[in-house]
Symmetry: D2
């Protein structure tokens, strides 16, 4: 496997995941070469992240005084082709929590347990009015780390 | 050309269009057979309808007391395959205005002037609070008919 | 419920369905009003149709001498708003088999058993070379009617 | 502007672009917060990349003995929110050519000339049969560098 900047040891990195969702590849996501297009993995990552956030109680947290999370960046490495009808497991974990942001990592396995995708992205908490980053509260940090 | 329930005379029907938008088929819209998938035409129709509504001044009409339009039904007939890189003209017209709804018709031509798609759909104006249909005002009707 | 051209008696029509797939609404399918956009139902119908065809053994039937099915038309009626995170059951059935084509009907229920969507569309079997319609074989008809 | 690993000097980096395509944001790409969702930028990048490859004569190069390009990784940094109806210019350039791969960079400006998106991704040329990377021919390199 090639060198991935955000993965030091693949074994350690992989073992840090536990939360995952099932994803069934849709026919409309295949391109003219019969492969899943390069855009769909970001849809899968989003689904996994939202389900993860919901499991922590942080999604739709209307009373939050600590702002809303926005995506600052996203990246994906394509390791194996994904085909129509593949049944994927898409994993998500919090890799790092900073003062106003967190780094989320992603991994997708196919039905044979092979790594098809790895990825990461940073979420920043911003104030809804000013758009400026706001510090993550201790309670949010705790929820993220114990899920 | 086969029989289409919402088209009596194709010649008359086609000549009723003037408003149209250009649509460039996206690579991600092609499927494993190299054709544009069956879902994309509804995206094209939506784009054309929104541009049409904007041209009438009825889109984003925040002060409207006559409710918001919602889609009640949509249909599309596929006449010719559409391919990646095709440059389409997607036409839209108001075919019929009722008391609380209007019927919008669609037609897409490819770069050779061939009809690839025809379609229609009904929009109903509803009250945002109650969700019940509300009558279209005379001013809305006028705007729709003179565009 | 309003009048739908392809449904005579809603009760009879609904009772004719048995095959269905689960569909989880994706966040990326919601629009700026928090509703699922008008295009996604056609993606759901396609998924249901493909799974149905696979269950009959007619999908990916490489040795077929009776041509390939293409979509001739599609339509959808929107009965109830669908929201992010709704869990739908999308039903599909063959309503009518003609000489070279078949009519497929669709219905989507939400988690409360309410009808959100109804729809239909015609598939035509065509010869891959000539593009002309070809008659459905008796074996295909049988598979379709006994699933 | 925050630190982007693949941009040393933003001024230098930005001045290296010339090829670009227009992209009109689609209504169906907005989410429930009125913003363009995080997935669409990768669709825009793909469109720009394909147009760029076509302009070099490298897209659909059927006689190529040097394999086909596949996407090895993709990343995007979100600098400014993009809204429905924004008219974007999406730029693309070859940043680096290796033995069997090339690095492509992307930038999207809105109608006010503000940078909304930056990104990059690596394409690898592989042999269609073996799936193994193949060296880029001198003629491909030349075409890429002179466009």
């Amino acid at each position: 496997m090639r060198n991935i900047p955000y993965i030091e040891s693949m074994e350690d990195w992989q073992s840090g995941f536990s939360f995952h969702i099932p994803v069934k590849v849709r026919f409309s996501e295949t391109d003219m070469f019969g492969h899943v297009n390069n855009v769909s993995p970001f849809i899968y990552f989003e689904e996994a992240r939202i389900e993860f956030m919901k499991s922590t109680g942080l999604f739709d947290d209307k009373n939050s005084s600590t702002g809303m999370p926005i995506v600052a960046d996203l990246q994906c490495d394509y390791h194996k082709q994904i085909y129509f009808d593949d049944n994927l497991k898409v994993y998500v974990k919090v890799d790092h929590i900073g003062k106003t942001s967190l780094d989320i990592h992603y991994m997708a396995l196919n039905q044979n347990g092979e790594i098809c995708l790895t990825g990461r992205g940073r979420m920043v908490y911003i104030d809804k009015e000013s758009g400026k980053p706001v510090p993550l509260s201790e309670s949010i940090k705790e929820k993220l780390l114990t899920t």
